[in-house]
């Protein structure tokens, strides 16, 4: 019997840009010789809203985005081991509010860098394989989650270096975990997704005492902390039919991207009393052409007004998340920008978009003031179909 989708259809966004806002390429820096996999603005501390950090090979670089379009390097850190290749970075904070950068990659060792004092704060060892994403809890920025190829998600306290919880096992992921994200309005919950095509919602509620204990842990040896396994997620959603490599909370909804050329906005309907019996309803679809290789991640601005994502042709799609039906704000493209964009970063107000490119460069796009918008947009469309060469599913990890 064919599946009836009456009344549960999702609404697909149109790929015609509204051009309500437009951006121009203002800067480009070479971050390194190897692909830039990750870059992220500081959303934790208002002093550093213009500061971003990038991961490129075995280097972690901290930059300042200047108002005039410039990018000023501030700090650089290099792993002594040349084999290390960082895949992800995130900002965090010490208990005193001092800024931390947390990075992980190929080796599976998570580096906590105290960028306020330019030194390594901790090196977190535990993952059995590479770390694909690290995300920080906004309300308690000492807590970070790491998603790893070892099929687990771990919750760490970067201040004390404790691995508090491990999310894996019976109900856990059955393949590499690609992405995690804390639920913004419920500090106990987070989502994870991976190459087992599922997205899982986890709850730490029952284990929250361990989280609290991790702050007051006095023992010098963090490995003595009674790390707990969480084996059962609250909800497992199969809204995608292929690898899911990026997911973010959007209020009570979830934005997730699979290698199927689209981002889905969907609502998990979780039954509180019977975990595992919930359903998921896809509400909106944001098509992203030429985006079917994995490890391409999207990002949003601080207020979750816009979403930006690069594709394998070097274009960036900016979607308006607040509009209904979905509106494609603009497509950013440039004749020199033709390598895969692994991740984008939007500044707090969404006026600056940074792109982490596979060719080792970081490109900066700035929003153009409203009145100029029309003229710039007019020149753009011809560029769109210029770079149509397809790269195969390229991923080397």
């Amino acid at each position: 019997m064919p599946k009836i989708t009456l009344g549960t259809e999702s609404i697909v966004g149109s790929l015609t840009p509204s051009n309500q806002k437009s951006y121009k390429l203002t800067n480009k820096i070479r971050d390194g010789e190897t692909p830039v996999y990750s870059l992220v603005f500081n959303f934790l501390d208002s002093r550093f809203f213009s500061v971003f950090v990038s991961a490129c090979g075995n280097r972690i670089n901290v930059y300042n985005c200047l108002e005039d379009g410039g990018i000023a390097p501030l700090q650089s850190y290099a792993d002594e081991d040349k084999e290390e290749s960082f895949y992800t970075v995130s900002w965090a904070c010490g208990v005193k509010g001092n800024p931390f950068v947390v990075a992980g990659g190929e080796k599976g060792i998570i580096r906590v860098i105290d960028v306020g004092n330019e030194k390594i704060h901790k090196s977190l060892v535990g993952h059995g394989n590479s770390v694909n994403e690290i995300r920080t809890n906004v309300t308690k920025p000492q807590l970070v989650l790491s998603a790893s190829k070892d099929e687990s998600v771990r919750l760490w306290n970067v201040e004390t270096g404790i691995c508090i919880l491990i999310f894996a096992g019976t109900g856990g992921h059955r393949n590499k975990v690609m992405s995690v994200d804390f639920q913004p309005n419920d500090e106990h919950r987070f989502i994870s997704c991976g190459m087992d095509k599922t997205i899982k919602i986890w709850s730490m509620k029952e284990f929250w005492t361990y989280v609290e204990d991790s702050f007051t842990w006095k023992d010098d040896d963090p490995s003595k902390f009674p790390t707990k396994f969480v084996q059962f997620p609250v909800h497992t959603a199969s809204v995608h039919t292929n690898f899911v490599d990026c997911n973010r909370w959007f209020g009570d909804f979830i934005l997730s991207k699979s290698v199927e050329n689209e981002i889905l906005l969907w609502e998990p309907i979780v039954k509180e009393n019977s975990p595992g019996e919930g359903t998921s309803e896809v509400i909106l679809r944001y098509p992203i052409p030429n985006c079917n290789i994995w490890f391409i991640k999207f990002s949003c601005d601080f207020f979750l007004n816009y979403l930006s994502i690069g594709n394998q042709e070097g274009k960036i799609y900016v979607w308006d998340l607040k509009s209904f039906p979905p509106v494609l704000v603009t497509v950013l493209s440039h004749e020199q920008s033709n390598s895969v964009i692994r991740q984008t970063a939007m500044s707090t107000d969404g006026t600056t978009i940074l792109a982490a490119c596979e060719d080792g460069t970081i490109r900066r796009w700035d929003a153009i003031a409203e009145e100029k918008a029309d003229t710039v947009e007019a020149q753009r469309p011809p560029l769109l179909h210029q770079y149509s060469r397809r790269k195969g599913k390229a991923k080397q990890k």
Partner: protein, 909 residues
């Protein structure tokens, strides 16, 4: 989806009323075009509603989001403002302040001006390019801060420690269709759950029809009326068949009525449910082999094995004068001076007279004093069974009413006489009971009218009553129920009842007035005059759950009202009430237990269902014994012997066979699943202990079961204290009244897996490659080191997983037996990290422990503390990777080194 579609449906829910009235007034047969148009418009409406609902939800979400992000922003500002004041030495702030000097852009030189960034040839230099104007990158170089190297861990997949094997996870997530509620703290399943049957039904319906479909069905049919053409159109549109839709529509209308009439049936108390649900989840969730709920090894919904030999009900030392409390029947009996006991015996005596006494005499010898009270009733019923030809009308009634009544009173008992066997195998209660009921209905057609009504299912009976009942019977019903409404639990009535019961017809009546309330109506009808108020009243005051608990109590404690009241009905019923109920139900049993021949005395007094269960079991044995048993005795012995020996000798080249307990009720015959499967019968089988296929255990004493002289050891089994004669362990220090250890100290040494007497194993970086397992303390030869635990998966599953693991060059599969493969990839213990070596210091052995195959790792030689453990994975010859076939070549390492092979490398013991 529910929330998405609900606004639309709730908005339109009120509309149908109007539409129904109009369409009913017109009563036309609409054409297919019209139908299509209606459906189409409804579809559009649905789509529009969907858009609106999405928009609403998005707006709502937006609102929430704004609040959240704003609070985040506030905390960011606080963090920024606060810490900059108290910590002015933040380097990042300083750099940021200075950074305008290094700003890139068209000014290409500024990076060189900045003193803090020095060229470092060894490191990759950062380059900053201003794109504006030119695409030539401008270099800014600075020395990165070095992060000291941290050695990476050897790769592994996160795994969960298992101290015992688990069956594959899919099984555990599906617990039949039942919802389990987990105890937050203990992780144990709570057996009480809210009315599951109904909830499940509803859910099934929902799964079939999503809300929008319901909406379309309802609206279309309301608008156009219920006609075949409309149904067909709808069926086309929804790609279902029209009867389905019609049925659904009826359901929907009913639902509407219900919702309008309000939730009257809500909030029925726990006590009104019978024990069926609880028992059912008990049967499904409690593992009778591991004695835990939600067993991960044997899974849920196992076949229920009922032992052929039932333990006698537990009887505490009886002290005639000891009362269990103020309400003890002994006290009250004395004070009331009512010869309840006597009357019972009278009555039962008479009943047995009526039906002949052959069997009675046969069994009476076995019965002790206590049983004598209950015995006659049994014999009476057995007589009826033995002499079915003589069955007069009374007998017929009994046989018909019994199963029906039973099924209505409690589903557990529902099997009745005919369904008993099936029921016994597997308590899938409803299906069987329904079947019995149906069959009964058929059979009743030939019966007289009164009998027919008697055997009808409860709801039918009510209807029938209304139609058929004569005025007199109606009256009786009334009088009965009015009496019932009075407080009529008094012993006087009870005795009256029993006195009356001299007359067979009145007894019949008493029978009918047993548990189910509908039953009382029914019997009123066919035996008009003799209403039994006592039974009726009891009926009402005893809730179904209490009745079921009582019946269980009888099974456990026998006819001991003190024990039953104290242990099972504490706070619900007093001893006296239990006693009364017991005596009353005895009356009934004399008629109802028509099948209840119970010669073993295994359960002295089972009511209805239990009795019939026993009976069926017994009877089948009886038949067989008459026929083949003798011949079988010999053949089985040799067969069993053979299979045991086969296992102990041929096991090297043949995988062990998975044991599943058989449900034989007699000594195992040809159809015994164990025999067919080539395994021995174990203590978990249903067959009696005398079964020739049973593994008998050992009689070793001084040898401590450490050599092949021990039959257990030789058969690769661990000794079992339940089975072996002399195998025991020192338990306790004697303070608990347990006899202190025997002087000889010949403790069985073949129970180490069972007792988890394992060595401490450490996980470390292997000297060879990857991870390795190390021993903490030195051990001697043949010492048990630990168990190789993991997920139990089927061979099919293992083949699939093996392919995946081959790709990752890491496999933890271990062939366990003909049915299962152990997979320690995600779940296991540290011994999974022990590496392969052609010259190992350990060996693995599949051992049967309490019916389960488990893998023990043993020391092949003396191993010193801190040594790494290796064992030979014994790859199957055809599947061994190249290096394993020529061990000298590659030294030792397991799967990490495996070149992807065609098959899957599996360890075998």
């Amino acid at each position: 989806m529910a929330s998405g579609a609900s606004p639309s449906s709730s908005a339109t829910r009120s509309d149908p009323h109007k539409d129904t009235t109009t369409s009913q007034a017109e009563k036309r047969a609409p054409g297919s075009k019209e139908v299509a148009a209606v459906i189409d418009s409804l579809k559009k409406k649905l789509a529009a509603d969907r858009c609106i609902s999405i928009k609403k939800r998005i707006d709502e979400n937006k609102k929430n989001l704004r609040g959240v992000t704003q609070s985040f922003m506030r905390s960011c500002v606080e963090r920024g403002g606060g810490s900059s004041y108290k910590d002015g030495s933040d380097l990042l702030v300083k750099m940021q302040r200075d950074s305008p000097g290094t700003k890139s852009g068209s000014d290409a030189d500024k990076s060189n001006n900045h003193s803090s960034f020095l060229e470092d040839g060894n490191n990759v230099s950062s380059t900053s390019t201003a794109v504006q104007g030119s695409s030539v990158p401008v270099k800014i170089s600075f020395r990165p801060i070095k992060m000291p190297d941290v050695k990476r861990l050897s790769p592994y997949t996160t795994w969960v420690f298992l101290d015992r094997n688990q069956r594959m996870t899919e099984d555990q997530s599906v617990v039949g269709r039942r919802r389990i509620y987990y105890d937050q703290t203990g992780g144990e399943a709570l057996i009480c759950s809210d009315s599951e049957e109904e909830a499940i039904d509803e859910e099934d319906e929902k799964r079939g029809f999503v809300e929008p479909e319901d909406f379309i069905i309802r609206m279309t049919l309301d608008q156009l009326g219920l006609s075949d053409s409309v149904l067909e159109e709808l069926a086309n549109f929804l790609s279902r068949n029209s009867s389905e839709i019609k049925a659904r529509y009826e359901v929907l209308m009913k639902e509407k009525e219900v919702s309008e009439s309000g939730d009257n049936q809500a909030a029925s108390s726990l006590l009104n449910k019978d024990m069926d649900g609880a028992l059912d989840s008990f049967d499904n969730l409690f593992c009778r082999r591991c004695l835990v709920f939600d067993c991960r090894l044997h899974g849920c919904s196992q076949d229920l094995i009922f032992p052929a030999e039932k333990p006698a009900p537990w009887t505490p030392p009886v002290d005639e004068n000891l009362t269990c409390g103020a309400n003890c029947y002994k006290t009250l009996l004395k004070s009331n001076r009512i010869p309840v006991n006597g009357t019972i015996e009278d009555k039962t005596g008479t009943s047995s007279n009526g039906a002949g006494t052959k069997t009675t005499s046969k069994f009476s010898g076995k019965l002790n004093r206590k049983k004598s009270k209950t015995f006659p009733s049994e014999s009476a019923s057995s007589n009826e069974k033995c002499t079915p030809e003589t069955s007069d009308s009374e007998n017929g009634v009994q046989q018909d009413t019994n199963p029906e009544k039973v099924s209505s009173s409690s589903k557990v008992k529902a099997s009745g006489g005919r369904g008993g066997r099936k029921r016994n195998n597997n308590r899938v209660a409803e299906r069987v009971s329904r079947r019995t009921q149906k069959r009964q209905k058929k059979s009743e057609a030939s019966d007289t009218d009164s009998i027919a009504t008697g055997s009808r299912s409860a709801s039918d009976v009510k209807l029938k009553d209304n139609e058929d009942a004569t005025s007199s019977s109606q009256k009786h019903v009334k009088s009965g129920s009015s009496k019932n409404s009075r407080k009529n639990d008094t012993p006087v009535e009870d005795s009256k009842n029993s006195v009356k019961s001299d007359d067979p017809v009145s007894q019949l009546n008493a029978v009918a007035s047993e548990p189910c309330s509908d039953g009382s109506l029914r019997k009123d009808e066919f035996v008009g005059e003799n209403v039994c108020p006592g039974g009726l009243s009891e009926d009402k005051s005893w809730k179904p759950l209490e009745k079921s608990l009582f019946q269980k109590g009888v099974e456990i404690f026998g006819m001991n009202s003190c024990m039953i009241a104290r242990n099972l009905l504490c706070g619900l019923k007093s001893c006296w009430e239990v006693f009364q109920y017991m005596t009353c139900s005895e009356n009934k049993a004399s008629f109802f237990g028509c099948d209840a021949l119970n010669p073993d005395g295994s359960s002295k007094f089972d009511i209805n269902g239990n009795m019939t269960n026993n009976q069926v079991r017994r009877r089948s044995r009886f038949l067989r014994r008459r026929g083949k048993v003798r011949r079988l005795k010999y053949t089985w012995k040799s067969a069993a012997y053979h299979s045991i020996r086969k296992k102990s000798t041929d096991k090297k080249d043949q995988p062990c066979r998975q044991f599943n307990p058989c449900n034989c009720k007699t000594a195992c015959g040809k159809e015994c699943t164990c025999l067919l499967n080539g395994t021995c019968c174990e203590k978990y089988c249903g067959c009696p202990k005398s079964c020739k296929n049973r593994f008998r255990g050992c009689h070793c004493a001084k040898s401590q079961c450490r050599s092949r002289q021990c039959p257990c050891f030789a058969a690769d089994r661990e000794c079992d204290p339940d089975v072996c004669r002399n195998c025991w362990v020192i338990g306790g220090d004697g303070t608990l009244g347990v006899p202190s250890q025997r002087g000889d100290n010949y403790e069985c040494r073949n129970m180490k897996l069972l007792l988890k007497q394992q060595q401490r194993v450490l996980l470390g970086i292997s000297d060879v490659s990857g991870w390795g397992a190390f021993l903490k303390n030195s051990v001697s030869k043949h010492e048990y080191l630990g168990e190789y635990t993991g997920e139990l998966i089927s061979h099919k599953e293992a083949d699939k997983r093996g392919k995946i693991y081959d790709r990752e060059n890491s496999s933890f599969l271990f062939n366990l037996n003909d049915q299962f493969v152990l997979d320690a990839y995600r779940k296991g213990d540290k011994l999974k990290f022990a590496n392969h070596s052609p010259e190992p210091n350990c060996y693995a052995k599949v051992i049967m422990v309490a019916g389960d195959h488990r893998v023990g790792i043993f020391a092949k030689e003396r191993i010193l503390a801190g040594e790494e453990l290796f064992y030979d994975y014994r790859y199957e010859p055809d599947r061994a990777p190249a290096w394993a076939r020529k061990p000298e070549a590659s030294g030792s390492k397991k799967d990490e080194n495996v070149t992807p092979s065609v098959g899957r490398p599996k360890k075998v013991a």
